[in-house]
């Protein structure tokens, strides 16, 4: 994430256009590559050294990118590279002990240690330092006395990205930077986008949502608990953290009200036009669940007798506003004879807490007249005990794959 001073955007008739770099532009890529080189070349050197080189590179590389904002772009890129750096301590001896001894000796002198040896033969700075060197065995106490400062830290490791990756990260980071000042966020999720993933991040970040069905999908309005008492930028940082999560799926349209330098502005994005890529990996549960879901569809297709039940991909969101979450079923099962509809959710990797929550949601959904099945894999969870008690609460357990008959018998 960028610091606010790195964030750049243009305001055009009330709309914000965050600064972006073209990942196809050779000049941009060569600057990105040079900065990566600079970091890589500094592995093993002190931080102050790296910072000095970066400061001079902003003057050399910046103007080639952009006459007036080039140096800020270079700073922003280096900030993003810093997130991929690991730092180490430079010395074996303890700088704190060393300097404390130096200060004690100096303070014990009848007058301040002289910088040069004079005729009066007053004790000098050199005398103090060499006495400490003798006592501690540290060769150059002056150089080591503040070796624990941040600038003296060594760049221990650097996870080098490709120039393209850096530029893509930059483009997302600039939009995130604009969102720091956002008061709310409205996302129109169109059909085909993964609402479950979206709600995963809504819940993770402690945001509050309002859900409204609109033609072709759902409209999601996001802000925080205090927002109801007046717009606040307090949740801007979380809305910024939400964005890469949203970028993991599509299609959607986004609009945010932003307090931009004390002016009202709007940020708008369309997933089909952004060309942005997320750097989030996505929740583990979702990655694991994908395979299980595909396997279930195949198993259902192969099943000889599914009674009157037809399987469809889920397209609904069941909101549970009081619990600040929503349930997004994977599948909808329709009984062609009775017209009964049952929603089915297959959990990916789960924790004990997920299960307890799901059982509560099942009850809540039932109270509202929805019928819901939740299936959880024995393999993808942590506690068999928790699973067996959740089964009593209505959760359908399965081993490697969810067989069609397990669902059919739960439907019966």
């Amino acid at each position: 994430m960028l610091r606010s001073e790195h964030v750049m955007a243009r305001l055009q008739r009330g709309r914000l256009v965050p600064h972006r770099l073209s990942p196809g532009d050779d000049r941009v890529l060569s600057v990105a590559a040079e900065l990566c080189d600079l970091y890589a070349a500094n592995v093993g050197s002190p931080r102050a050294n790296l910072e000095r080189e970066l400061a001079s590179s902003e003057g050399e590389l910046g103007p080639g990118l952009d006459a007036r904002r080039g140096f800020r772009i270079v700073r922003a890129l280096s900030k993003l590279l810093e997130e991929r750096a690991g730092w180490g301590v430079p010395t074996g001896s303890d700088p704190y002990t060393l300097r404390t001894r130096i200060f004690e000796l100096a303070a014990a002198l009848p007058e301040p240690p002289a910088s040069e040896r004079g005729l009066l033969e007053a004790p000098t700075r050199e005398d103090v330092l060499s006495q400490v060197a003798v006592e501690t065995g540290v060769e150059n106490p002056e150089a080591t006395m503040y070796a624990d400062r941040q600038g003296a830290q060594l760049l221990a490791e650097f996870d080098r990205p490709s120039p393209e990756t850096l530029v893509r990260r930059y483009n997302v980071a600039q939009i995130q930077g604009v969102l720091y000042s956002a008061r709310d966020l409205v996302v129109d999720l169109a059909e085909g986008s993964d609402a479950r993933l979206v709600f995963h991040y809504v819940k993770l970040l402690g945001l509050i949502y309002e859900l409204e069905p609109v033609s072709g999908g759902y409209r999601l309005r996001l802000d925080g608990p205090l927002s109801i008492f007046g717009a606040t930028r307090k949740y801007g940082l979380r809305l910024a953290q939400f964005l890469p999560g949203l970028l993991l799926t599509s299609p959607w349209k986004l609009s945010a009200n932003v307090d931009w330098k004390n002016r009202d502005a709007v940020l708008e994005l369309d997933s089909e036009k952004t060309g942005l890529e997320s750097h989030y990996l996505g929740p583990r549960a979702e990655r694991e669940a994908g395979d299980v879901r595909e396997a279930f569809v195949r198993a259902w297709d192969r099943a000889k007798d599914t009674g009157d039940w037809k399987l469809r991909r889920g397209a609904e969101i069941l909101p549970f506003p009081e619990k600040k979450t929503a349930l997004v079923p994977d599948f909808t099962l329709l009984n062609t004879a009775t017209g009964e509809i049952v929603q089915l959710e297959i959990l990916g990797f789960w924790s004990e807490r997920n299960l307890v929550e799901r059982v509560a949601l099942l009850r809540e959904a039932e109270g509202r007249g929805h019928r819901l099945l939740v299936a959880a894999s024995e393999r993808l969870g942590t506690s068999q005990e928790a699973l067996s008690s959740a089964v009593d609460g209505g959760i359908v357990p399965f081993k490697e794959r969810l067989p069609a008959r397990a669902v059919l018998s739960a439907l019966a």
Binding site: P112, S115, V128, P225, E322
Partner: protein, 451 residues
């Protein structure tokens, strides 16, 4: 029956179809919701009206706090505390720096005797309050820290405004009493949301200078309580604050420095003229930074020139030599040197072999250095802005300002460092000002502010 819950910086009520202001119906989650700060009036209201209710919001506890540090309060401290009690244990106390605001807070904590959160503007003050509270209550309760790399929440926790802004909604139910140190920071738009996220029915704001140029002090009564007690430096000078002498030492640039300076000055002035930028106040400076960092051409050069100009002024070679002379003259008087930048602190610390204190200094080492300075084991220390704003350094006989900004608040508060009362003491404040540069003007403005 009405039940109250604390939820992420807000107060949620269930079991009633309508609730009075400031509760609103939150359609997003289908609950009655109010800012957490409504807790006091809500509970008092329900109690007075005899409405049956259950308080599941408050998670604070009684903590028996009795200071181990025996100190007779000065009369004005006693008055301040009395005025604050009179107003229902809520309000702002205005006392000059050096008058012992911290002691008032410690007394107030004893009086409330419940979980307490102290909010401070800087990491230096975080560390300072930690050591004060540790000294006073260390045997009875663990002192917690939130911010600056610490994340330890206890019934007596010190945090910064920045950390409180982020984390208050997680811990806002745990504290019955909140102390805002340097409370003039609270009305800043970002900080003003902090009190709303805290249930704390009791609060105390402390400052020497509540007024804000943006008029934000008008929000204080709502955020921390009204001003319940106020004393100006004149009210206490002589009796409680040591008299002091102000000595200004002009420093001439060397020929080489003068040449460099003139060059940088020309680039910087050119830019100001070209963009018709005035330069009379800190706001003008902010504006210059903004214009220069977004300017089409010459902006970066102007910024660099402005920085260079400042560096020459602040780092003038003769300043170092003069400082050496002053250290020699006052080697037995406990000298505190204020440098402008962190780098300068470390450079001077290396040069004179005296301890440096900056925001980088770890909490324990910082306490050790200041303790030793207090005991006289260290004769001098060099500090960056870290010692601003009420960080306590008792008994410094001499202060030297190497370079400062023209901000009135900074100046008054720095002066406060050496205005600690001590018998027979005459404090001296040296100000080393480079001549024929902008610093002269800065220094004059400072003294006018104090006159």
């Amino acid at each position: 029956m009405i039940e109250l819950f604390y939820e992420a910086g807000t107060l949620v009520a269930t079991g009633s179809s309508t609730l009075p202001e400031p509760f609103v119906w939150d359609g997003r989650t289908r609950q009655w919701r109010a800012p957490a700060s409504a807790y006091r009036e809500t509970v008092l209201g329900l109690r007075d009206a005899g409405v049956p209710h259950e308080d599941r919001a408050a998670a604070f506890e009684k903590v028996p706090l009795e200071s181990r540090v025996a100190m007779e309060p000065r009369p004005y401290q006693r008055e301040a505390l009395g005025a604050w009690k009179q107003e229902g244990l809520r309000g702002v106390v205005v006392l000059p720096t050096g008058a012992g605001k911290t002691a008032v807070a410690v007394r107030a904590m004893e009086r409330v005797g419940r979980s307490t959160l102290v909010v401070v503007p800087t990491l230096a003050l975080l560390k300072q309050w930690y050591s004060v509270l540790q000294d006073a209550f260390g045997g009875m309760v663990e002192v917690g820290l939130l911010g600056g790399g610490y994340h330890e929440i206890t019934p007596l926790t010190v945090t910064t405004y920045d950390s409180a802004y982020i984390h208050a909604e997680r811990y806002g139910d745990r504290f019955a009493f909140v102390v805002y140190d340097e409370v003039h920071h609270l009305p800043a738009p970002k900080n003003a949301i902090i009190p709303r996220m805290l249930l704390a029915p009791y609060s105390l704001g402390l400052t020497a200078t509540p007024e804000r140029p943006d008029g934000g002090h008008e929000l204080l009564p709502d955020l921390a309580g009204k001003i319940v007690y106020r004393r100006a430096p004149e009210d206490l000078a002589g009796t409680y604050l040591a008299p002091f002498e102000l000595v200004r030492i002009p420093i001439e640039l060397t020929a080489h420095e003068r040449f460099d300076y003139a060059q940088a000055e020309a680039v910087y002035r050119d830019f100001l003229v070209k963009h018709r930028l005035p330069m009379r106040s800190p706001e003008d400076w902010q504006r210059f930074i903004m214009v220069a960092s977004t300017s089409h051409s010459g902006g970066r050069e102007a910024l660099l020139a402005a920085r260079r100009r400042r560096e020459i002024r602040e780092g003038a070679m003769r300043k170092g030599v003069t400082l050496e002379t002053l250290l020699r003259r006052h080697w037995d008087d406990r000298v505190i040197v204020f440098a402008k930048s962190v780098e300068e602190v470390y450079a001077l610390s290396r040069r004179f072999l005296i301890p440096g204190v900056t925001y980088e200094t770890p909490a324990r080492e910082r306490k050790e250095i200041l303790d030793r300075f207090r005991e006289g084991r260290y004769r001098a220390i060099i500090a960056s802005d870290v010692l601003n704003e009420g960080v306590d350094v008792p008994d410094a006989g001499v202060a030297v300002i190497l370079a400062g900004s023209a901000s009135r608040r900074e100046y008054v508060q720095r002066l406060g460092r050496i205005l600690r009362p001590r018998e027979g003491k005459r404090a001296i404040l040296y100000e080393l000002v480079t001549t024929q540069t902008g610093e002269e003007h800065t220094a004059r403005r400072r003294r006018e502010a104090f006159a």
